[in-house]
């Protein structure tokens, strides 16, 4: 579904991604792990189309479409979803209005009829149950005054509402206590299907106790230095990132 080929990205004068290759198929969950500053969030933002990143080489495609040639809204309409590390507060726009606008823009793009207020409400209520989000939060301005956990839960609620093909979760576990982590993970697990794919970007392994990945990639200094199955995450947790950054001592013991 998602193919990242030899991707090089700069921010201002600094090269952040130095040749990333990634193949994510429908039905799979991939975890991208790595220390701070390794380029994880850059990868997530480039897939979603955020400004400020200069792609100097390589390609990013989804089902053959050149994502790098599309605006953020076109990508979203085709099924790319980024759960933000720091969801933005938007005073003056209610969560419900925001989601209705977004959902209908996506439906319009797909040639579907726009949902009217009644049908939208019905659909939204179903999804609220899935994520366990409070009605109060729905009528409040987007993310305004939300706790860290509420913001992350709101991201997953949007994921459930918009039902994208590809979900990229950027540090969704940061700032969550264990109960919130379970609820958020549950929302993601319910989203998983044979037709869609998930890329989980995370520093820590603990989220992967709840969202079990099919593949784990370790990103260090703009390159994927190691890939493996879910057990790789546990190994990283145990041995730390130094283990992949400076592999010599480990190699000596083999």
């Amino acid at each position: 579904m998602l193919t990242v080929k030899d991707l090089f990205v700069r921010v201002e004068d600094k090269e952040i991604l130095k040749g990333i290759n990634l193949e994510v198929n429908a039905g799979e969950v991939h975890a991208i792990m790595g220390p701070n500053g390794s380029g994880k969030s850059t990868l997530a933002n480039v897939i979603a189309g955020k400004d400020g990143y200069e792609v100097t080489g390589g390609s990013v495609t989804m089902d053959g479409m050149d994502l790098l040639d599309m605006s953020p809204e076109e990508r979203a309409r085709e099924g790319v979803f980024l759960a933000f590390q720091y969801p933005v507060e938007i005073p003056g726009v209610s969560n419900a209005t925001f989601l209705k606008t977004a959902l209908n823009e996506i439906r319009k793009h797909k040639g579907l009829e726009e949902l009217d207020a009644m049908n939208f409400l019905k659909f939204m209520r179903e999804k609220m149950k899935v994520v366990g989000i409070d009605e109060k939060l729905i009528n409040r301005p987007v993310n305004q005054g939300f706790s860290g956990g509420e913001k992350k839960r709101n991201e997953i609620f949007q994921l459930q509402m918009l039902q994208p093909k590809l979900a990229v979760l950027d540090e969704t576990d940061s700032g969550l206590d264990i109960d919130a982590l379970k609820i958020v993970s549950n929302g993601v697990n319910l989203f998983r299907s044979k037709e869609n794919a998930v890329v989980v970007v995370t520093h820590y392994q603990r989220l992967l106790d709840y969202i079990i990945p099919d593949f784990v990639h370790v990103l260090v200094d703009g390159r994927i230095v190691k890939s493996g199955g879910k057990e790789l995450a546990l190994e990283l947790e145990e041995k730390g990132y130094d283990w992949v950054i400076n592999p010599e001592p480990a190699a000596a013991t083999v």
Binding site: V88, I90, G92, E105, H109
Partner: protein, 434 residues
């Protein structure tokens, strides 16, 4: 010196008007006009040397010889198109500054209530006009002087004690005529007695593309325990001049709420002033302006707390695009007597382009010691992070910006109690931004 020629133009226009009057030239009211033209002769038009006009240069006005126009250019259909859906309207229509009986519709009101053109009140009930006119909007500059000198058309609303007004009052001003530059000088007088409530919409529109000049003055007396709400909506074409002065005076336990909404006009200057002249009054001044092209919109406000235990709320918000320019000057005056005053002022602007500018100046002058006054000014741009957030959910770039601008204006919308006007304005804002 350049404005001498123009001063003389208006003075000679005055003389012409005077010559065409019959008996009216000797009326008591005409003496007020004569005093006003003499004041105008002394003052002329304000220049940028005047601190209150520092950011607004009116010299472009001198490029045109403005004249009167005819009434026939507007049809019932034009008026219907400007009707505000959901309002229970009394409609008063002024075409090129002249009251049109044919296009206006005023409900049968309770006895004693007057909703009528100034010219006819001057004939039927001149004492009423003489008792109030010029008593509140003193002549501080050439524009008010000029308006007073030419005062003839406009709307008089008089509501006696305890009288209930039926419906909203919508004063529709439509100006323009092919090949002409029209000058209109509406003079409104709104006087309410005790225990009354009135809701007024004052809208200004253009037909055609010619540059016109509206020089309006409104005087408002809010009676004891009464509430007056005025929604002023400026939607003229981008070449037009609009100078507006509104002066309200409040009696005990009254509420005055004013909205200044500017979506159109080339050069717009509004002076919106309220005097809280008795205890326990509330004065609310709200403003919203969306500008583009080379529009220039200057809002000057004065909230004068003269007596104790009053409160005022002021909030102005602007969104400026292209080369447009905004000015906000908000003065809050708390006099020595006005203990326990609660005054809140906020003005915020968003600049959508690097070439748009705003000059903002909050001025608090406080002479009482037991008061709560606050003010805040903020100028910024649309939040790029928020734009990206909306776009990342499938909302197009233009719609994302519109949604965020509408959200920026939401604080103003939340205060609008007139639901029909709320909806109308919401549509206008989306239309303008769309």
């Amino acid at each position: 010196m350049e404005n001498t020629r123009n001063k003389e133009y208006y003075i000679s226009e005055f003389k012409k008007t005077e010559q065409s009057m019959n008996g009216e030239a000797s009326s008591a009211f005409h003496q007020i006009r004569k005093q006003a033209i003499a004041r105008f002769d002394e003052m002329g038009f304000p220049t940028v040397k005047n601190e209150d006009w520092k950011y607004t240069n009116v010299k472009q006005l001198f490029d045109f010889d403005f004249t009167g126009g005819s009434a026939g250019v507007v049809t019932k259909k034009d008026v219907d198109a400007l009707h505000i859906k959901g309002l229970n309207e009394n409609i008063i229509v002024l075409v090129n500054g002249v009251y049109s009986e044919k296009l206006s519709y005023i409900k049968k009101q309770n006895s004693g209530i007057i909703i009528e053109n100034l010219n006819s009140v001057l004939k039927n009930n001149p004492e009423l006009v003489l008792e109030h006119i010029g008593k509140y909007a003193s002549i501080e500059n050439g524009f008010t002087a000029l308006n007073t000198a030419f005062a003839k058309e406009g709307t008089v609303i008089f509501i006696p004690d305890n009288a209930e007004v039926k419906g909203h009052i919508h004063i529709l001003n439509i100006t323009g005529e092919a090949g002409k530059h029209i000058l209109t000088q509406p003079r409104n007088l709104i006087v309410t007695g005790k225990n009354t409530k009135v809701n007024i919409i004052e809208s200004y529109h253009s037909t055609g593309i010619e540059e016109n000049f509206v020089n309006a003055v409104s005087e408002v007396v809010v009676g004891e325990n009464s509430s007056v709400e005025i929604y002023r909506l400026q939607q003229e074409n981008s070449g037009s001049f609009h100078i507006n002065r509104t002066q309200a005076v409040q009696a005990r336990n009254s509420v005055f709420t004013h909205y200044s909404v500017t979506l159109g006009g080339g050069l717009v200057r509004n002076d919106t002033n309220v005097l809280l002249d008795a205890e326990n009054c509330t004065g609310n001044l709200y403003g919203l302006y969306l500008t583009e092209g080379s529009q220039h919109v200057d809002n000057h406000t004065l909230i004068d707390h003269a007596k104790p235990h009053c409160q005022s709320n002021e909030m102005y918000k602007g969104v400026l695009n292209d080369n447009s320019r905004g000015v906000f000057n908000g003065k809050v005056f708390v006099r020595e007597d006005a203990q326990k005053t609660n005054a809140y002022q906020s003005n915020k602007a968003i600049l959508l382009a690097n070439t748009a500018t705003i000059d903002t100046k909050p001025q608090l002058e406080i002479y009482a010691d037991d008061v709560k006054c606050s003010h805040g000014a903020a100028i910024g741009q649309l939040d790029d992070e928020a734009v990206f957030y909306l776009r990342s959910r499938g909302i197009g770039a233009d719609l994302a910006k519109t949604v965020l601008i509408r959200a920026f204006a939401n604080d103003i919308f939340e205060t609008i109690e007139n639901e029909a006007f709320h909806e109308h304005l919401n549509n206008l804002v989306f239309e303008k931004l769309g």
